[in-house]
């Protein structure tokens, strides 16, 4: 007996659920496609001002995202654009000075950032001497950034000598890319 009642209730519930679904489907079909956004909006209970505000917000979000992307790209460029040196030299060549000006500009606009400048060497010559040479390269870059107005406390240096080459190889194309100062935002 009890079982029969349960089955009946379940069937009833199922049927009413079916009817609800059908009525919903019908309602959406009935919606007037020409009603437009305003209509729909008013249906959702939003005023025209509110919509305009949301639009503005969305535009602002897009602008911010674009800016974030631009900053990220700039940041990436700041970190990934190494400055290069001549063999056994820690003097800044004109290209290096140009890049450093760009980096100083970035650091001025992003005054909260501190940076580690890594000095690196190619693997010709001696590991020990290259530790010192790498440090002088990092210090050359640091001094130049200081001259361009970046506070000293924002600029750290470390030398890796010839311990961390960016390119393996035993020719000038590899060597010239390894004689570098690399910038890491901390």
């Amino acid at each position: 007996m009890g079982k029969k009642i349960v089955v009946r209730i379940m069937v009833l519930l199922f049927l009413s659920a079916m009817m609800l679904t059908v009525s919903c489907a019908k309602k959406s079909v009935e919606t007037d496609p020409s009603a437009g956004i305003e209509n729909q909006g008013s249906q959702d209970g939003l005023s025209a001002e509110e919509i305009a505000r949301q639009k503005a917000l969305e535009e602002e979000r897009l602008r911010e995202e674009a800016m974030r992307k631009a900053i990220a790209a700039e940041r990436e460029r700041f970190e990934n654009q190494d400055i290069y040196f001549d063999f056994d030299s820690s003097e800044l060549v004109p290209d290096a000075r140009m890049l450093l000006k760009e980096k100083a500009d970035f650091l001025t606009r992003n005054s909260g950032l501190t940076v580690t400048i890594e000095g690196h060497c190619d693997d010709r010559g001696t590991t020990e001497y290259n530790l010192a040479l790498g440090e002088r390269r990092a210090m050359s870059a640091k001094r130049y950034l200081q001259d361009l107005g970046i506070a000293e406390f924002r600029l750290n240096t470390i030398s890796y000598g010839e311990e961390r080459p960016v390119v393996q190889g035993n020719d000038e194309s590899a060597w010239s890319r390894n004689r570098r100062a690399h910038f890491v935002i901390r």
């Binding site: 056994d88 010559g125 001696t126 020990e128 001497y129 530790l131 010192a132 440090e135 030398s159």
Partner: protein, 455 residues
């Protein structure tokens, strides 16, 4: 010839039967039998002669006195250690046993039992005989060096100790031979520290002078380099980036404890002041890379170089009054000699535009260094007072990091002649260049410890 009887040897062994006692005294008991003819400390060989002719030495198998299996095995072990150690010197040529006419292991190892003619006829200018007795791990090793042409015993010794000490017994006898032939104790028992990337990072390892017995010293998983031995062999100084910055580490090898010296900037290129618990190193906390003198416990004593520009890689003269170093003060890296007291300095190298890594010879008269000419990196030697440099390596890869053996007879260095960098050894005149050992990764920065017997 005065010989020790077997009886007295047995008594000695009984006295030393306790291993505990042996460890406590920590010494090998050496009995010397005096050669019949008093031998002056005459140097047979001038190891600085570039035209050195290797002296043929015969080392027949050692006699096993009781003849049991362990004893025979130990005797074989001892004769092998001796043969490779003497071969390593570069001035002895260990003869092929196939040419030997008599067998002292059976016939007898004493002067009266040897027929010298049997050795002179095959061209053996030196003869070493040995006898071994082993009982419950206690060993008695009898070793003799003869000059078959003069028919004389040159050195005779008995070593008693535990069988685990056979290697050091043999090395002590080799040191005696070296002292007699060259006037110096030689390399036997000395060790070589080096840097290897076998684990993926540069770490410091140590091996025996002949490349055997490699053991790992550091485990920082970072860049670790520039090992330097204190004169007593108890301390290794080195540079490691373990804490991010190139810091100076002073490791007590007995306790494995480190003193870390970390100032802003570089703390690199340590070199111990001979015979003292003090070392020089390059520091750059002032903004300029200068050489300073530090105590072994890591306090700055004083500044040794003051000129602007790179000053690195100090290497003291054997008496510590002077130090060679690399400076860029003239525009290119060159070797300079500084006065440890006054701080005055003068330029040593003038040829070439890149000369680095000076190593002062134990005799005090020469400085080995690295020169780069047209991208080829080689090892040179120059007089400590200047003069014409001599090129020791050429046409075979990059050759760097020269380090003198404690007797000044050999120079260890790193070379890329076989691809990855490996440690090689050559004589001080550049002859006999050979690979010291094979090991995973790249090996660089060999540093030879002081002589056996100095400890």
């Amino acid at each position: 010839m005065i010989l020790m009887t077997q009886n007295s040897g047995v008594k000695l062994m009984a006295a030393l039967n306790s291993r505990k006692c042996f460890l406590l005294c920590g010494l090998l008991i050496v009995v010397v039998f005096f050669p019949a003819v008093a031998v002056t400390q005459h140097a047979y060989i001038n190891i600085n002669n570039p035209l050195i002719r290797k002296i043929p030495v015969a080392i027949p198998f050692f006699k096993a006195f009781t003849g049991h299996e362990d004893e025979v095995g130990l005797g074989k072990n001892a004769v092998d250690i001796m043969s490779s150690a003497l071969d390593f010197t570069g001035y002895l040529e260990v003869m092929d046993r196939g040419s030997f006419i008599e067998n002292p292991a059976q016939k007898g190892i004493t002067g009266s039992e040897i027929n010298y003619k049997n050795w002179t006829v095959i061209g053996s200018e030196l003869l070493i005989t040995g006898g071994i007795m082993e009982q419950n791990g206690a060993v008695r090793l009898e070793l003799r060096l003869f000059d078959p042409f003069k028919e004389t015993l040159l050195i005779g010794k008995v070593y008693t100790g535990h069988k685990a000490d056979i290697k050091s017994m043999v090395y002590r006898f080799c040191a005696e031979i070296s002292l007699l032939l060259t006037g110096k104790l030689g390399v036997f028992g000395s060790r070589i520290a080096f840097v290897s990337t076998v684990s993926g990072n540069k770490e410091i390892f140590v091996c025996d002078f002949d490349g055997g017995n490699i053991s790992r010293i550091t485990n920082f998983n970072n860049i670790t380099m520039s090992p330097a031995w204190s004169s007593d062999g108890n301390f290794l100084a080195f540079t490691s980036y373990a804490k991010g910055n190139p810091d100076l580490y002073i490791r007590d090898l007995r306790s494995n404890k480190n003193v870390v010296f970390s100032k802003k900037g570089l703390n690199i290129t340590p070199a111990w002041l001979p015979g003292q618990f003090a070392l020089a190193a390059t520091l750059s906390f002032s903004g300029d890379q200068d050489i300073y003198l530090l105590t072994g416990s890591g306090e700055v004593k004083r500044q040794l170089t003051k000129e602007m520009g790179i000053d690195v890689s100090p290497a003291f003269s054997p008496d510590g009054t002077k130090f060679a170093f690399v400076s860029k003060r003239s525009g290119t890296p060159q070797i300079y000699i500084g006065d440890s007291g006054s701080g005055s300095s003068s330029r040593l190298t003038f040829k070439g535009s890149y000369n680095t890594s000076p190593a002062w010879s134990p005799d005090g008269d020469k400085i080995a260094y690295v020169g780069v000419v047209k991208n080829s990196i080689n090892i040179y030697v120059i007089g400590a007072n200047g003069g014409e440099p001599t090129q020791l390596t050429s046409g075979q890869g990059d050759n760097e990091d020269p380090s003198w053996s404690p007797d000044g007879n050999l120079i260890a260095f790193s070379s890329t002649r076989q691809g990855a960098s490996r440690i090689f050894v050559m004589t001080s005149t550049g002859s006999d260049q050979r690979l010291l050992f094979t090991f995973g990764g790249a090996q660089t920065d060999p540093a030879w410890s002081s002589a056996y017997g100095n400890k």
